[in-house]
Subunit: 554 residues, 2 copies
């Protein structure tokens, strides 16, 4: 109550009122990813706080800086609840500490107004230093309304200790490599090290692949860009990983969805150097990394770029051309996709990414859409590219609300299931006239689960579409009911025209794309049938559809 | 994945697929409250689990039995995350223990398939025994698919220890009282003790007031029913509490929203006997209770009813008539409300409750609607009456989905803000053709906060309506876009006709009621201006509008 009033009275702050705290948290996450400093979500006591948890957890695993401020019961009541363990004393009040400590870098209940400067400075420090992440300040109602003393203790963060770097060795490894490869993860973007990385890679002609989180690190048209390896990857990048003799893993945590099922055979021919700010990630890797360096990517890559200015490295022309050859020979989006019945999501995405403005930001929700778009999107210029990486939470498209507050155009892409998870925010888009173009890939249900139940459950379908318990929603009608301009794409012949129409409309637009219900998702890591009939996960560079089968049938 | 398939293969179980886990948890809560046994919510890993937290927290503070089963990453990955504290290893996986332990009675990760019987039996026991509440079983993906041994250890709950009851003393106190009063809380309903309570009260002519949670304990037409005390209460019940010489507090935790700001002066003339199953609630009370009895209400009230069959108590005719006189003299719904401009929510609710079927269940969402409806609703027959009591979480109307699975007609009442919080579930209502009549009291924003900012912030409005950051939604249009029959009430002249129309339609209906934006919420506990100009919370029986002012002006 008093915090809201403070916000109201403060001319320097402006707020976007989301309809649901889940969306408010995701919007703050989106803001943080694009700006590198925390977006803030102000939520009410109890259910307001718990509603924000999914968004906060997503920001935590994806290293996004975020500040949550929650209202709380009177400090005496809160203390009583903490001391006794009673289910509740004050109206709506919940003790949040245990609930959010594992998904925040710092959590504090402000029990004394004189501590507020300490808590705020520390929260800001924690959110923005080291591996970034969310922080949470819980403010009892009586504290909100207190005068604070002029003289308060503050907080000064300490300098982080990083590994010493043996630059001579790195120089030797890099310059003697014939087939070097850079794997860029979100850490590069989080550290603001993109330009230095591209400068370094360009000077030494080192091809780049990106993890999902690192997609924004390099434009697709850059001749050094190879692809995006992972469970739903592309052949060129998988070949490159398995063939390279040096892999520089920069700010990528090498998640299983990136490295596949045989991490011990990931980049088997390469000397692997991994640089990460989080020691736990360096320790975690199932991939046998040769050199682990704990460092902030920003100074590390700046130093790498600077030092390499006089390095004489081997010639990589053949290697770069080889990667380029594979990329051209094995495109993700096949020509045949344009000829299929119905709208193939890959085909649609390719056209959309071609028509998307250079200066737009792209927010991709989870599910099959995330796989398809992340495989396909042709990143241009300095486009931001945001996904819910680690948590992979549905409804993430609403983080576009936070991105829209500082970007010209935001392209949000979402499946029908995920769109529903934050559908109430269509009202926010309309009210604030946000420049968000929301593309809903409507495949009538949950396509990834549909594939799973088809592949592993003998077509026993439950909860995947209109025939198994999940309604089909008319998003064009819903969008209109919220007052949004709506564009619906029913046929592939109208894709380009309709996309142009979407971008010609100022402000928010909902574009419903009636895509195939059971579209192929490929290439991907799948299983091979062994001679004895059992299934075995295929190798990292043996993506389905298997090349030796020469056909696409499952 | 495997749990969903198991559900699909089990003919004895049927599932309702909600669009959002938040709603699934609330639906399970609703099922539990109406049936007394746990409703179950099956949710997916990570964000699926965190999305359920608000609903689980609500069930916890409101003592509703519920079982949550969540999918989880491979047990090795889960163990690694627990051991190392790394942010994440498996895709989507979060360690849930700390996050949900404070809002569940039992939480278990099933790390060994042979433990599943133990965990399930213990979970069921905890959910349904003592003070009821939610339990949560987290099942790693590899465990889901394991064969379980035939011979597994189980769990047998122990008998609970309760306070010895000095029945002679209770008999003496009850029979010698001249102005006895029963305060019935949710504990009475949770224990299934309603019939015995009414039998006891009728035999001894003891008037009854109910807490919000206990509203379902007595039909409004019962001559012993006085009212529902609380921050938003009614004069008759507040007078009765302050005048009675004996207060039997049965299954009510005496929340501040029930007792007002001076708990030490709550029922000041009464011997107070409090019976509750939760020792912490008995210890908590700020109200000076004379006799605290820890007991299950079911055997206690059964015993009370049985023993009292030969008690000779004082005559309470005058007292009962006095309470009845106050109730008639000070109705909540004033005649003038029907003559106001626009639709007064009290007036509308009164008509709705008169026209509502006797065998319907009533689910009330939070906010001003909860206050208004809980003050006004004329409970009939065995109507269930559900609110989000302790947590008071917006979107609670979706618990009607769980209630609808076992009731003929469910009347869900919600404000516009709360309706938005689970708006995606309109698709569920439509798809499953649920007999839910959703009445949306559309006051264009958040009316309680609007009142607060008017009363305490000098009309500095933020986030309360279309002029301060919160869009107005056309719920009739949204309802139609989801395929629901829609009825809109724009004018008070059409209220009765339109309500009849709603009930004449089978299956789900959305009825949007365009109520006053700044309607009065009264009577309520407010503040009085002291001679020195300061504000002071009024006494419990001095409800606003203050009777000595004789007018309604703010």
């Amino acid at each position: 109550m008093w915090l809201t009033d403070a916000l109201c009275r403060n001319d320097k702050l402006s707020a976007v009122c989301c309809q649901h705290e889940q969306a408010a948290a995701m919007a703050a996450d989106g803001y943080g990813r694009v700006n590198g400093i925390p977006g803030a979500a102000l939520v009410t006591i109890g259910p307001g706080a718990t509603n924000a948890i999914t968004g906060v957890a997503g920001a935590y695993v994806d290293s996004s800086p975020m500040l949550v401020i929650s209202g709380q019961a009177n400090s005496r009541i809160l203390q009583y609840q903490k001391d006794t363990g009673i289910r509740q004393k004050g109206t709506q009040s919940l003790v949040l500490g245990n609930m959010v400590r594992d998904i925040t870098k710092y959590f504090a209940e402000v029990m004394d107004p004189a501590d507020i400067r300490y808590h705020m400075e520390r929260a800001w420090y924690e959110a923005t230093s080291g591996r970034k992440g969310p922080v949470w300040i819980d403010v009892p109602i009586d504290i909100q309304n207190k005068q604070i003393p002029d003289d308060m203790r503050g907080y000064e963060g300490s300098c982080q200790e990083f590994s010493p770097v043996d630059w001579d060795r790195i120089k030797e490894i890099v310059t003697s490599s014939n087939k070097p490869l850079i794997m860029a993860g979100y850490g590069v973007l989080s550290a603001g090290a993109r330009e230095n990385l591209l400068s370094f890679a360009t000077r030494l002609s080192i091809p780049i692949v990106t993890s999902r989180g690192g997609i924004g690190a390099i434009p697709s048209s850059n001749s050094l860009f190879v692809g995006r390896p992972g469970s739903y990857g592309d052949r060129a990048s998988h070949f490159a990983v398995q063939e390279c003799d040096l892999l520089l893993i920069l700010g990528s945590r090498l998640a299983q969805s990136t490295t596949g099922y045989y991490p011990d055979r990931f980049a088997p021919n390469a000397v692997k150097i991994m640089v990460d700010i989080d020691e736990l990630e360096l320790d975690k890797s199932d991939v046998p990394v040769d050199i682990r360096i704990r460092s902030d990517l920003k100074p590390f890559i700046a130093e790498l770029n600077k030092r390499s200015s006089d390095w004489l490295s081997n010639d990589h022309t053949d290697w770069v051309n080889h990667c380029k050859y594979n990329k051209e020979k094995y495109p993700v989006v096949l020509d045949s996709y344009s000829k299929e019945e119905g709208i193939n999501s890959y085909y649609f995405t390719k056209i959309l990414s071609e028509l998307a403005p250079d200066d737009s930001s792209v927010v991709v929700d989870t599910g099959s859409v995330c796989n398809i778009v992340s495989q396909t999107w042709e990143l241009k210029g300095k486009q931001n590219y945001l996904i819910s990486g680690g948590l992979s939470c549905m409804g993430f498209w609403a983080s576009s609300i936070g991105v829209a507050s500082c970007e010209k155009t935001v392209i949000a892409l979402s499946g029908d299931g995920s769109t529903q998870m934050n559908i109430q925010e269509l009202a926010t888009l309309k009210y604030y006239d946000l420049p968000i173009k929301l593309f809903v890939y409507n495949n009538r249900g949950y396509m990834l689960i549909r594939h799973n139940q088809h592949n592993y459950m003998n077509d026993r379908f439950l909860g995947v579409g209109p025939n198994s318990g999940v309604p089909s929603v008319d998003f064009s009608a819903v969008g209109q009911s919220y007052g949004l301009p709506v564009v619906r794409i029913n046929d592939k012949s109208e894709i380009e025209e309709m996309i142009r129409k979407v971008f010609s409309i100022a402000g928010p637009v909902l574009c419903e794309v009636m895509v195939q219900e059971f579209g192929i998702i490929a290439p991907r890591i799948s299983s091979r049938v062994m001679p004895d009939g059992s299934l075995r996960a295929a190798e990292f560079d043996d993506l389905w559809p298997f090349l030796d089968e020469g056909k696409l049938d499952g």
